[in-house]
């Protein structure tokens, strides 16, 4: 089999330094929405210059290269132990090459490991076996500033008048966006899961962030709610960096899950404008990136 060490390193480099085209396009459209001479517009212009520069120089888009979250879809018979080893080696090498900042800190001793490895949850690696002979590795870098403004609500929420239905979901998501202000490096992208338990809810709210910017939920009622939440979030006037302005949220991604009769969780993962997620597809000795 093909030696995948260099290709996985390239996946990390690409994710950290080259913002996906769909995200960049959406930021370019947002600039036009903001008034000439406003702080909001100049923030977006700086962001776009930064995106171009990072790509040209192969330097991190943002210095917070986040938690590396990998999703590996592998054919039958592939060793997940070896895949894990491959990925951790690539992460260490990417840190050495300054594509990643040393970001893994022991929560008890405050010591930074210096190489982005930690316990079995750092980096995060999910494995799933799939049919066929194609290996797909997806990577998302989720920064700390936006992770900190994520929120989980247990419905009903009386304070917000949010009941256990889609109307209630809408209210708590808007509340989360208002509370986040510019702290998550707005404009953001919302990943929202409805249902699950506290753990699976957060995992699902991140998984939806692997979708393309223009990819709507396959459920028509959720697709409509995604659109509505993006529009209404932008009516809050928070704007890029919280400077005030029209662009607070670029896109909303929602997913419905199953829940216990007693629980109704709504989980919001906020993704900053530095929406770094890439995919590597391996078939035979061909590797391609998306």
């Amino acid at each position: 089999m093909l030696d995948l060490k260099e290709p996985v390193l390239e996946l990390v480099r690409l994710t950290s330094t080259d913002l996906p085209p769909d995200v960049e396009m959406s930021l370019r459209a947002a600039v036009e929405q903001e008034e000439a001479g406003s702080a909001a517009r100049s923030a977006l212009e700086t962001i776009l210059k930064n995106v171009e520069l990072s790509r040209a120089q192969s330097t991190p888009i943002c210095q917070d290269t986040g938690t590396p979250i990998f999703y590996v879809y592998h054919p039958e018979g592939m060793s997940t132990r070896k895949l894990r080893q491959l990925i951790t080696e690539a992460v260490v090498e990417a840190t050495r090459k300054s594509y990643l900042r040393p970001n893994s800190v022991n929560a008890l001793t405050d010591k930074n490991t210096g190489n982005n490895l930690g316990d079995e949850h750092f980096p995060v690696i999910h494995f799933e076996e799939v049919e066929g002979d194609i290996l797909t590795i997806e990577l998302m870098l989720k920064g700390g500033g936006c992770e900190n403004v994520g929120a989980q609500y247990s419905l009903p929420n009386n304070e917000l008048g949010a009941g256990r239905d889609l109307a209630g979901v809408r209210k708590v998501v808007l509340d989360a966006v208002q509370k986040a202000q510019g702290q998550g490096c707005a404009p953001g992208i919302l990943g929202v899961s409805i249902g699950g338990d506290r753990g699976s809810g957060y995992a699902a709210s991140k998984e939806v962030l692997f979708r393309k910017m223009d990819e709507a939920s396959s459920d028509p009622s959720l697709a409509a709610m995604e659109q509505r939440l993006t529009q209404e979030s932008n009516q809050l006037g928070i704007g890029p960096m919280g400077f005030g302005g029209k662009t607070t949220v670029l896109s909303t991604k929602m997913v419905g899950m199953h829940r216990l009769p007693a629980s109704f969780f709504v989980t919001v993962s906020y993704m900053c404008w530095a929406y770094r997620r890439r995919k590597m597809i391996v078939q035979g000795d061909q590797v391609r990136y998306e």
């Binding site: 330097t59 210096g114 809050l236």
Partner: protein, 206 residues
């Protein structure tokens, strides 16, 4: 965009208002969570005795912070092995985590500016009025772009805190920021928060 040389005088600080775009040139230091905790416990509240090189670093920091600015930033730095340091990516980190310390640090060192992202709260705003000082908002995530304005790394202290948490002394040229909290009690963050709260109230009734 107004160009400002570091360190800054009282007059210049007072002449700046919320919304002003500024380009900073001169020497500044980085400092985030570990640094603020260390400064506060060792030299301001004195709940912990100085250890190791603490006092030497403190003496070295005093002239740098007097009239100067501190940057909430955890950079990606190249050249660690050879000590020929170079900033590769250096955007701001969220400032509100330092709210408990910042006002005291400003008063203690006569610090005139704090650079970060997301803004700070009432305690820091009060210190901005007293010192006088200001909060300067950098563009979150614009890490490569900001790193380009860092012309030289002059030194580093407390590297044992980790690369992102260490105190980096840097020389910058035309580092772009927006004043979002000024010496006159103005805060863009408080204003946007209020406005968005009432917009949210309206949406919740729909």
């Amino acid at each position: 965009m107004r160009e400002i040389q570091l360190p800054v005088s009282d007059e210049i600080v007072r002449s700046l208002k919320v919304g002003d775009a500024v380009a900073l040139t001169g020497v500044m230091v980085t400092g985030r969570d570990a640094v603020h905790k260390w400064l506060s416990e060792t030299f301001i509240k004195r709940t912990r005795p100085p250890q190791g090189d603490d006092l030497t670093v403190y003496e070295a920091l005093k002239p740098l912070l007097n009239g100067g600015v501190i940057y909430h930033c955890g950079p990606v730095v190249a050249g660690l092995a050879t000590k020929e340091y170079r900033f590769v990516a250096a955007g701001p980190t969220t400032s509100i985590r330092e709210e408990g310390y910042q006002g005291d640090v400003m008063r203690h060192f006569n610090l005139r500016g704090v650079i970060g992202k997301g803004g700070m709260g009432g305690k820091t705003l009060k210190a901005c009025q007293e010192v006088p000082g200001m909060y300067l908002h950098a563009i979150g995530g614009a890490a490569s772009y900001i790193a380009q304005t860092v012309k030289r790394v002059l030194g580093v202290y407390k590297l044992e805190f980790g690369v992102p948490e260490a105190i980096w002394v840097i020389e910058v040229k035309e580092f772009p920021v927006v004043v979002t909290m000024d010496a006159h009690g103005g805060s863009l963050h408080a204003e946007v928060d209020q406005k968005s709260k009432s917009a949210l109230q309206n949406l919740l009734t729909l």
